[in-house]
Symmetry: C2
Subunit: 557 residues, 2 copies
Amino acid sequence: MSDRELSCTNTAGQFMDRGRMNQNGVVQPLLTDLYQITMAYAYWKSGKTDDHAVFDLFFRTNPFHGEFTIFAGLDECLKFLDSFHYSDSDIEYLKQTLPEGTENEFFDYLGNLTAKDVTLYAIDEGTVAFPRVPIIKVEGPLIIVQLLETTLLTLVNYASLMATNAARYRMVAGKHVNLLEFGLRRAQGPDGGLSASKYSYIGGFDGTSNVLAGKLFNIPVKGTHAHAYITSFSGIGELKTRLLKHKTTGVTGDLLELAVQYRQALSQLLDVSMEESSEGELAAMVSYAIAFPDGFMALVDTYDVKRSGLLNFSAVALALNDLGYRAVGVRIDSGDLAYLSCLARETFERVGENFKVPWFSKLTIVASNDINEDTILSLNEQGHKIDCFGIGTHLVTCQRQPALGCVYKLVEINGQPRIKLSQDVEKVTMPGHKNAFRLYSADGHALIDLLQKVTEPPPAVGQKVLCRHPFQESKRAYVIPSHVESLYKIYWQNGKIVQPLPRLEQVRERVQMSLKTLRNDHKRTLNPTPYKVAVSDNLYNFIHDLWLQNAPIGELS
Amino acid sequence: MSDRELSCTNTAGQFMDRGRMNQNGVVQPLLTDLYQITMAYAYWKSGKTDDHAVFDLFFRTNPFHGEFTIFAGLDECLKFLDSFHYSDSDIEYLKQTLPEGTENEFFDYLGNLTAKDVTLYAIDEGTVAFPRVPIIKVEGPLIIVQLLETTLLTLVNYASLMATNAARYRMVAGKHVNLLEFGLRRAQGPDGGLSASKYSYIGGFDGTSNVLAGKLFNIPVKGTHAHAYITSFSGIGELKTRLLKHKTTGVTGDLLELAVQYRQALSQLLDVSMEESSEGELAAMVSYAIAFPDGFMALVDTYDVKRSGLLNFSAVALALNDLGYRAVGVRIDSGDLAYLSCLARETFERVGENFKVPWFSKLTIVASNDINEDTILSLNEQGHKIDCFGIGTHLVTCQRQPALGCVYKLVEINGQPRIKLSQDVEKVTMPGHKNAFRLYSADGHALIDLLQKVTEPPPAVGQKVLCRHPFQESKRAYVIPSHVESLYKIYWQNGKIVQPLPRLEQVRERVQMSLKTLRNDHKRTLNPTPYKVAVSDNLYNFIHDLWLQNAPIGELS
């Protein structure tokens, strides 16, 4: 590419030591594509700065071969608007980056630009959303509304994808299984990991292993130990402490001695020879139990689940019991999870019965090896005894579809509708400023989403509403809604967030409530029924008239 | 899961307003899995805090069905070590998060912990690396070395995956094509996008659209405009400015008038009727050219590349030429890229010849629609005239394999080797503190990577070296190296970074240099030859003795 192209770098690297986010953890307006800035300059030069524009932010396809998407990321979008401001150093960098002739007054203009004249409408965060129904609408002066594009897409795309993925895992795992996000090390760097933790929690996970996410977002954090902890001990001779005070009496007991005794007895009960089991593992578990007597959860697959891990764990758990503490459970990180979880449950039941410790049978079994949606479905079929899944790589990378394709399209300027045509009908945009309604049946299920022109009266409860397929003329249906929900609220206006923002837990609850309004056939994993998105008759005609006006008449030759 | 498990959340959310990174953009030590902290406490309670440990950081499989990996992320790892310190608010959060009985002295200990006693060895950043050869080795007191695990993995995994992916795109695209990273909006949130920009540059891309990445990392940033810019104009009547001064004479010319005249002439030359082409597009291009007369690059597929975009672009570019400016080129963002790029090139050649503007034939053609490695291969086969690819989603999400599986394994403690056994031979770790050497042939190609015990003398140039497969007894080879490279350098020792750190451009150059040392058959896309990683005879015996000592003897029944 020619070196005359729009590009230039600062040579001194004088900006390298600045943080990536501002001090409140909100993204900076420079987190955008350069073409937003070059367009801004061209709009400014053309006198179009204050043209009144409306943009729709929407996706065209649901992810993961599914038929729904959870909308997330709104809170971060609003905080971004609230803090939108180019710092002096941003302006300095842009001066170095744009071509030499760029007028100085433009940079003065940028330096004073805020989002105060922008109005942002959105569906509530945590609500199910569908293709082509804008989840965010932004209106205001063309220049600022255009400048928001990339950052809004960045904040919505992964957040919604992750929340949707998490919600799907929750559905296949069922309500009573705990789900923990363990993906930090496999995410797209530091903030990829933080976003994954936050939005998997919103989507229905119960916690994360990511401590910083716990601190920043007030999410429950969970964790036990790694294989390295077990392998760092080679025998009981290494134990520097073996004593533990009884939980209620305070009398000091010898946890190691008790565990060794129980191990002997268990070795007979479970028909496992003590020589086969690892003494290093026993030592590691004793030491861990002394550190966390009320939270003893141990990894049992470092050597052999059956012949070492379960034996050692049970011995230490029974010893803890003698000192007034209840162990929590085990984690299995490899092997046949269905078989091993059943083996663990059986073992716990036998041990509980034999030693008269009835709660033993209810010990928690955590599984955490390369789990995805299909693994859980297969485990469900096989029958398993897992109480909790720790899910990493496939959750945070969204294995089945690693990106959501939200786009941000100009639909109206100075009151004039805009349509983007394409050979591909799916890519034709719906012009004009629109409203969206969700129509519900008498039993509370969502029936259809309906887009209308903003000038039309909303559909009324109990009245017949004509719903049309946006592009296929003959596909029409009458719907008589029992309840009509207007999907948009104004969230940002006159330079302020104008809705109370829910806490993370509230968004998380909304996800589950919103999913409940969807019929099961829309939510199932295999061949789900598409949820219908329609346009009013009025909007249908409006779109198609505009289409014909704008499409060139081809010539065959 | 039981509520007695290790977890607890702060209820006030008092930490939510703090930044995610410290003020220098370096990750915080709390960006880790909780189990690192619980293990730290258990180590501390067990008196194992200062046990001397060695951990290997390595991957088991190359990504993307390839046979090499580019190691990246080291610079960030070292800065992380340098700034490693739990803040008061971190300690406060951990006190709230760990179980009640956790001793206060532990938190005092954590509050004073730094990485000063750690030694970190690594392969140079930007070097090709192979499965099982540690890319980083960390030694020092068990507690701190363990605490580094998750963060180091987070910093290396995505960085290396991204750099490798970018290097693969570079290989298939060839040296003379420009590659731009356009993935911000599809990455894992804000920092996912920044990491993608940085490491795709290291891997061989020429620039990014991400302005903040440009500012922070001093990477060239590029960009033109979006379809919205074109659709925001509906006709030439909207143009508020049409005048542009001649580049050298300073005489004001009417760019619109010139463009309209050229458009008429071109319409005949190119056999396109003016009625079919969009006047709004012409207006948008004229206005953009007035803003960037020296950097005019235009999107030509908003309406129709052949019947509108190329006509309007050529008209404006010829008009610019009359005023002393050279246009840069066009971007095509949809359709058949092979066909359209050839059409564009032909058009430019015809126009250049007809209007006696020879440089016209060399205008830049950028393509940017959903491109991946396979698309480029297919375009190469079909023949195309593209000078530059803008690549987003598939680059940043690493479509073919969205995560690299680096692990961090304890291999030695207090001078005693540790081995992690597994049913799966691939998962057995190589015990002990090891050195790695790369042996080269006389023609400068890398032949094999050889792991040895640190106590062994390095292989010598011109001497026969016995190289053994780590697990298959019969697979052995003698290698006589013409050059031997010791792969590790100490990068961090006594609380300091002890190597000069290369600039990003230098790492970027090293990637290309390092790839040159690999034979082509290791690098090809289809069925590449595996590069061999071997162990010395000494290490082979050491591993297998230890394996037999540790593996239980099974019983068949």
